[in-house]
Symmetry: C2
Subunit: 457 residues, 2 copies
């Protein structure tokens, strides 16, 4: 293979790294629906939210107009520890697929949390520290967010209390140990430590948990502990704002080589990676400057976009959080214990939900075994062992590249490789052993939880 | 923290990556002692070695004179998948230690094998493929070399058979699964598959294995299978040659910013990382152009340099391999099951042994709990979870930086961060639980295996 005009990996210089986050909402004509107080059904005020979240994060959460938020120098300094992340040209995958498509991926896995989650973790921990708090509470599914937050808190000297979805806690004992290395305390959820946890356990004694349950517990712990606030790794507007650093770097790297993507693909659980990756591209699309196909990929076992309803719902199973308008399977939906722990969320970012409702992006769901087939092929040719979550995007990117082979189109595909799968070897093992199953909820199962959506006019 | 003149991470451009490996032996006045045929005690000929190793690798093994070997374009293409690796300025560690020292580390862990081993794996697999072989056999300790070789073989379509030291196999089930993802077969060693394995098991029924045992099995398998050769991840001259890419990149990155190190530190098991990292610096030292302090760091549980003897010995426990002159604890030495699997080798690279005998470098041994204390501190401030092996170098770098604090000297310290510890969480857990032990062999234990060294005049 000759030396390519475009390198395998495009790294920005540190001086080229983004100095501000981009707030996609500023360019949305139809703003995402506001969070509602579940009691009054009125939009949550800053004051109400500040009991749960740090003050500056509340401002970021509610601000639909300011297009850019400066990244504080302390956070940029932390970013320089592991960013810029490489934008990789997947030459080897292209060759393997014999496709005329040009494939790029933004690789966010080269840090110890193993994913993009660190981008928002440090931001949220920073504002908590700035506000003089003692610590933060959170939930984690696959463990990536919990690890990321532990790292950020260790760096800043904050206490960190993590509720980890029980099935991930059991599948990934090593994740817990990494969090402990960073000084966090980790509790399997649902737990007996909180009122909501005890209630969920009483109703579903054998439950393997869900992100929704764990959120409820973490929120309860935060609001009942002095000097603590709750932080969340996905879904929220503030998280998508912080994650825009992914898209901004991606766009800067592509611009450097004059590359314009046709298709942008990301996996979608709560939407943080996808929302961050697409932000500047969607901005151009919203402003009518350029068009892109944007594809959200979700697991067939938890298909919020493709089989959910666009409605107000609780963000958590315990119904202690505000209501958000989003594509949802119902806050009571507990997905089968598939292995992409980070995608096991019943709802979806309000921002992405509004964009999807407005026809500005597509969504598709993929089966787990197809996802692992893509993961293994990718690992062998590109040399990176991908996380199951990220592999949903790989699956869709490969499928699009195969279509290009059939049509002869030389499309440029960019996808988000959110993280590595080092802690997902049980899932890979199940795939190798042929024991991996494709759980797909029935229409009746989904309808049952949708029937319990809160009534909001 | 202000934007620094020297970035957090120095990346070379792909065009700046080394195009040739540097053969340190060419600049050594006292060449490393040749491998001996254990039967005749005569230097091994190319013909004899080619029954075990690939032909081009045999040439590289025996060539003490050619200073540079061109890196074939296919290997450079593979290198571009995960190289250049970053040279990181450890600003956060410096701040934590409040030291005037300037600390840099060359981070080789950003690839799925999790270590520098991939640098030689792809080279050895490439020459095997070029020779038209079906596959290769090898041993692995911590699992990093086995993973690296599996990745290289998957990429080139070669069969890969790995003998994994039993205690690592049991401590690291996920490593096995990663190798399987890359299509390798993995057998715990000692096994009943080989004659030497059966013999070792008969003599030491409860043994947890050692690199020496696993080497014997892999060699036997290679020489008794049609179309197979044996490949080794460390110790050999050829491996140090390939690993010179680490040092060449490090030096190029430092040169770019006009930085000259005072101290260069690396962990030492068989010597591949250390030999690669120091190569161009030691070259300058040998040619009298510049002086550096070079420090090898080994575990107190397996102290080849600091408590071994410089003598001819078998490279493997089964005594099927050639004799090498090296610092050794005796090929019968089976180290206690400490957690730095990659450093559990009774001997040491002949090149490094000669340099050490000539007083050109220092060595020290460190205790495991001290190593993990350094690892945890490093993880918290630098954000990378280090492998136990690499953490030996971290320990020494921190100790040197603390000395600088005491003396006020602004020394520049460079160390090799060979890999990540994602698969070493049992060890971290033992450290957190306070159950980690510091195994240190007694003088009598070492003497017992040294007494059995082969008699070579």
């Amino acid at each position: 293979m000759k030396q390519q005009a475009i390198p395998y990996k495009i790294y920005l210089d540190e001086a080229e790294m983004p100095k501000a986050w981009y707030n996609l909402r500023a360019d949305m004509k139809n703003k995402p629906a506001p969070l509602l107080n579940p009691g009054t059904l009125q939009p949550m005020t800053a004051q109400e939210l500040s009991g749960v979240f740090c003050e500056e994060l509340v401002q970021q959460e509610l601000d639909n107009d300011t297009p850019y938020f400066e990244i504080p120098e302390e956070i940029r300094s932390f970013y320089r520890m592991y960013r810029p992340s490489p934008l990789v040209r997947a030459y080897c995958l292209e060759e393997k697929l014999q496709t005329p498509a040009k494939i790029y991926y933004k690789f966010e896995g080269n840090n110890t949390s193993g994913s993009h989650k660190l981008n928002s973790a440090i931001a949220q921990a920073y504002y908590a520290k700035k506000q003089g708090l003692k610590g933060v509470t959170t939930e984690t599914g696959a463990g990536q967010w919990g690890t990321a937050l532990s790292m950020a808190c260790a760096y800043l000297g904050l206490d960190c209390k993590v509720y980890m979805v029980k099935c991930s806690y059991e599948q990934k004992p090593f994740r817990r140990e990494v969090m402990r290395t960073y000084g966090a305390s980790v509790t399997p959820s649902p737990s007996m430590e909180t009122e909501v946890g005890r209630k969920i356990l009483a109703e579903h004694p054998g439950t393997t948990g869900s992100l929704g349950c764990a959120i409820s517990e973490a929120v309860e712990k935060a609001v009942t502990s002095e000097g603590y606030r709750y932080v969340l790794g996905s879904v929220l507007n503030q998280v998508l704002l912080h994650q825009s650093v992914i898209g901004l770097e991606t766009k800067a790297a592509l611009d450097k080589y004059g590359v314009v993507p046709d298709i942008i693909i990301g996996c979608a659980g709560g939407g943080s990676n996808l929302g961050g990756l697409i932000a500047p591209f969607m901005g151009e699309k919203l402003r009518g400057e350029r068009d892109y196909r944007i594809i959200a990929v979700e697991p067939a076992s938890c298909p919020s976009f493709t089989r959910g309803k666009y409605a107000y719902d609780f963000c958590d199973t315990g119904m202690v959080c505000p209501l958000a308008k989003m594509y949802t399977l119902g806050s009571g939906f507990i997905p089968a214990p598939n292995h992409a722990g980070g995608l096991r969320y019943h709802g979806m970012s309000s921002i992405l939900s509004q964009l999807y409702a407005d026809g500005l992006m597509e969504a598709r769901s993929v089966k787990q075994t197809d996802v692992f087939a893509a993961a293994e092929m990718f690992a062998r040719v590109e040399g990176i062992l991908p996380a199951p979550e990220s592999s949903h995007a790989i699956r869709a990117a490969i499928d699009e590249a195969i279509k290009c082979k059939e049509t002869g189109e030389e499309k440029t595909i960019v996808f988000g490789l959110t993280g590595t799968g080092y802690f997902d070897m049980y899932a890979y093992e199940a795939y190798h052993e042929g024991t991996m199953q494709n759980y797909i909820p029935t229409d009746e199962e989904i309808q049952a939880t949708l029937d319990k959506l809160p009534k909001v006019e």
